[in-house]
Symmetry: C2
């Protein structure tokens, strides 16, 4: 991918979108934890929660990588996974939004194939 | 420690005591998890819960080692940590119970010092 320039206001918008997706995904993890613990009665349920959190930590660490060189790809992934809506990208240039949407469709297509 | 013989009925009693302590400690972990998760609102709380479970997994794996060669020591530790009561040791020979109680006091003393 060619080097992409980010204006100051785009950087602020990107940070907002990134933080929004992160908070949304963490809220979903918390909701899942509440569901799992409400049903926990046996020792094995503890280790299932631990395994779930191991996977989530890896998932979150891999995904939320705030570097401008990869941000378009990350936003595309977050859009395809529904952690971001198009309206969350407001403040980015139209060219960037188009790139993100195009890549998001490709990511979704690759997952579905 | 000299080799200790375990009769068939003592083995059954030991298994019961071991499983009782394990279930009790896991129930306490589940109760603590319920408390932590009920208060979880921010992403950082997820990783605090994950850290807590990492430590508990290590603690449980280190402690619950069902080998007859170390069982007296394990029961002493479980007694000193209140995961076992003296009545849970019913079915073991008086010599073993005395050894366990003596060691439990030593473990408690070492922790308190």
């Amino acid at each position: 991918m060619n080097k992409i320039n980010w204006s100051k206001s785009e950087k602020a918008a990107a940070r907002r979108a990134f933080d929004t997706a992160y908070k949304r995904e963490c809220d979903a993890i918390i909701a899942k934890l509440k569901e799992m613990i409400s049903k926990a009665t046996e020792p094995e349920h503890i280790w299932q929660i631990h395994d779930y959190l191991d996977k989530q930590q890896k998932n979150i660490n891999d995904k939320y990588d705030y570097r401008y060189s990869v941000l378009i790809l990350i936003f595309a992934r977050l859009l395809s996974e529904d952690w971001l809506k198009k309206s969350d990208l407001e403040g980015l240039g139209e060219d960037k939004i188009k790139k993100i949407e195009k890549l998001a469709k490709r990511v979704s297509g690759a997952e579905g194939s």
